[in-house]
Amino acid sequence: MIRIRRQPLKRKVKNEKASQLSSSQDIPLSNNLEENIKYFTSIYQESEDVIFRSFVVDQTAAAIIYIEGLSDTQKLDEQVLVTLLDKSFHEQDFLRSVKNQLPISNIKTITTFSDCIDAIGNGNPILLFDGFEEAFSLGLVKFEKRSIEEPQAETSIRGPREGFTESLGVNTSLLRRIIKDPALKMKSVHVGKYTKTKVVISYIEGVVDQTLIKEIENRLNRIKIDGVLESGYIEQFIEDNPYSPFPQVLYTERPDVVSANLLEGRAVLMIEGTPFSLIAPVSFFSLFQSQEDYYERFWIGTFIRSLRFLFLAIALFLPSIYVAITTFHQEMVPTNLLISIASARESVPFPAIVEGLMMELVFEALREAGIRLPKQVGSAVSIVGALVIGQAAVQAGIVAAPMVIVVSITGIASFMVPRYSIGLAIRLIRFPIIILGGSLGLIGIILALILIIIHLSTLRSFGIPYLSPINTLQKQPMKDTLIRSPLWKMGTRPHLTGEYNAVREDTNLHPGPNKGSE
């Protein structure tokens, strides 16, 4: 159902903070180490990987609680335990002197049970002392993670080959390496009752619109679910129009894409546990931009981008145009071609639309099967696909050769889209268009096109119309949509929401041989 709703950006700021933990409330730690340990033991009952180490520090009982595999046990041993067990500390200001003498770069003081449980869950060992109501959370997180490798879902010929990994710390560090200015802010929020996933909202202050950040925070705080496993969960909870097949948030694995969007004034959500980060707000045309358009020179960028739009049209409409023309408008086809198609279709028992839908479904099945395949079986499936469906079915007279050609070209065209999410949307929409084309001919296809255009016109992504900048048709923003203007001409940032900092670069940057001497 196409829900037509205009939702301008909410400008009121709600100062809610959702309660994040359903279990342990903000009970402060008690003085008594035994009580604390008993509380923790009861919570971590039947979890053998939570290690309790009790010892004595300078006549004070102490305990360290950590989760095996999440903390750096080597450093814990060598730096924490050694120091605590050997040295002696000031009697009066015990905690402060301990803190001063522990050679750990990140020590936080925590006072509530819930904070302790958070810390332990994140891999920071807790240091508890008898007689004190405060505990230390030691920043000794270390766990096995994937090394930085080339992102597999978004390869490019030219450009950095680093991709995000599942660890949030690594991701933010990759981002900091690219954008070094302190204006890059990283706000964090926790989402998910059991997963307590840390979500970092990152933006460049002074470039982004603050209302956007507030809106994102509001939407994140409204999420009350059990767990967040992937950025997709968050994406589906914060988008403007969940019924639309079109994605309203962009996801990417590449830090250079993220940085480019940050510099244009967008905000990024990095979620722990997944290399895919979300970028908002997004417009229809930014889903057709690939980072490589910008790294190569502008003729190639323009050409490839225009080619993408052409193939977008082909991917959406080619099967239905074929069905429509061969069943409704046969006079459009040149005579010789018509005779060839007629000869090819002579023996096929199905009407064109059934044939079309069948072939498309088979193609989709092939694609899905190809993703799930174990590597050894991969070649068998390609042989099956090519030989059986392509060759044998045509020879047996079940499908016509032109249909196979059409479906393959459509398949190739749908891979031209750089962002997988919108490729999925296109694959989906193709089927209703085939049905409409098969029932009303080319008029039906046009009606489908109009419906898509209307739907895109009503869609908004975090307040900006989905079809920006076409809806305003101003010269400057249009430089980056259908064509790619040279980098030295793109002087302003796209207008995303509210007030914005427009100027991106100096105006007089046209390169040339004699410019340097002026």
């Binding site: 205009r6 040149p334 080319l442 008029i443 009606l447 109009i450 209307i454 016109s457 809806n471 048709l473």
Partner: protein
């Protein structure tokens, strides 16, 4: 104010151009040709004078009552009773006109492209789509109009392929029968050019309130140029036999061949024409439902869109029995009727409003 959206002047131009041309391009050449014969290519120039005039009237009225549609300010000008009567008349006029437009559209398609399908299928099709656009508000209409108009005009560029078949000598002798037939032919255009009064419903929603006049005039100019080009092509390709045909533009489009290979383009041109027609029906439907909602003091015009569509499907069937009567109506009745409602009556309103203003300023 029932409509909170705002559009830019450029979007308004994109909206208005297909609104006038979409059905005009179907039948104007044959009707104008009946009066003006060889000189029919000049007739849009005469007709556009009415267009400029109507835009000006709409603009002046808008300046007196910014952010208000004619339904709202007619009451302020001539008093409640007459104002509401006038609004009622105007709204019914637009509803009737929309019904006619849908009739022309479905007639054209069932007569030429899809011969077996009953016309109601196409009426329902385009009404559903337009209703969805109208319910989205004027911003949605404007945004989709921008894209649809671009596609519509781009495919119309295919007319260039006809240039090698042109025979300019069909234009001679110029003004053989004097200027009177040309004026008569131009008068027929009134029905379409006076539709620019729709601008009076769109001006209140412009972003920048002072660009309206220039954009309106620009839109009129574009419409005139396009109609001129179309008439010119029809004349030089078909000669005087264009008068005999109901849809001469369709005939010439049928003759396009590219490289001797791509023939029979008319389906593509028809398809892109449907895009232009969608914009026209959306704008008319929007004005009709907005007007009706304001007249009946409804809280939201969106509620009335679908019931109006139902009424329109019936209207498109009920009024005109067949195409011959339709062409007759367009030749003899429409120029006068449309001119009356969309130019003359607003002119009276304008005079009365100006007179009142002067009186209140001096008194």
């Amino acid at each position: 104010m029932l409509e909170k959206g705002r559009i830019s002047a450029l979007q308004m131009e994109f909206m208005m151009v297909p609104t006038i041309i979409a059905t005009g391009v179907l039948s104007i050449p044959s009707i104008a040709g009946r009066f003006a014969r060889h000189d029919m290519w000049m007739t849009p120039i005469i007709g556009s004078l009415i267009g400029f005039f109507t835009v000006y009237i709409a603009w002046k009225l808008h300046q007196l009552f910014p952010r208000q549609t004619p339904i709202q300010y007619s009451e302020q000008i001539v008093g409640k009773v007459i104002g509401r009567l006038f609004s009622l008349f105007l709204v019914f006029f637009y509803i009737h006109d929309t019904g006619l437009i849908i009739r022309q559209y479905s007639d054209f398609i069932t007569g030429n492209v899809m011969l077996e399908t009953p016309a109601v299928v196409f009426s329902i099709g385009i009404l559903i789509v337009s209703a969805l656009a109208v319910r989205g508000g004027i911003e949605v209409i404007a945004r989709s109009a921008v894209i649809c108009t671009t596609l519509f005009l781009c495919t119309s560029v295919a007319l260039i392929f006809l240039i090698k078949d042109l025979d300019v000598s069909y234009m001679l002798p110029i003004l053989e029968n004097g200027p009177l037939p040309v004026i008569k032919g131009g008068f027929v255009h009134n029905a379409w050019f006076s539709e620019f009064f729709l601008l009076a419903f769109i001006f209140p929603f412009l972003n920048s309130q002072n660009k309206g006049l220039k954009s309106g005039m620009k839109a009129t100019l574009y419409v005139m140029l396009l109609l001129l080009v179309v008439n010119f092509f029809v004349l030089t390709l078909l000669g005087v036999s264009s008068v005999n045909q109901f849809y001469p533009v369709f005939s010439i489009v049928r003759a396009i061949t590219v490289l001797g290979f791509f023939e029979n383009f008319e389906i593509i041109i028809t398809a892109s024409w449907v895009l232009g027609n969608f914009v026209k029906v959306s704008v008319f439907l929007y004005v009709a439902s907005l007007g009706l909602a304001q007249l009946l003091r409804l809280s939201d015009y969106r509620l009335i869109v679908f019931p109006l569509c139902l009424l329109l499907i019936l209207l498109s069937y009920w009024d005109i029995p067949n195409i011959v009567v339709l062409v007759d109506y367009m030749t003899k009745v429409q120029p006068f009727y449309f001119l009356l409602v969309q130019t003359v009556l607003p002119l009276f309103l304008l005079f009365i409003a100006l007179a009142r203003k002067k009186r209140s300023e001096s008194g």
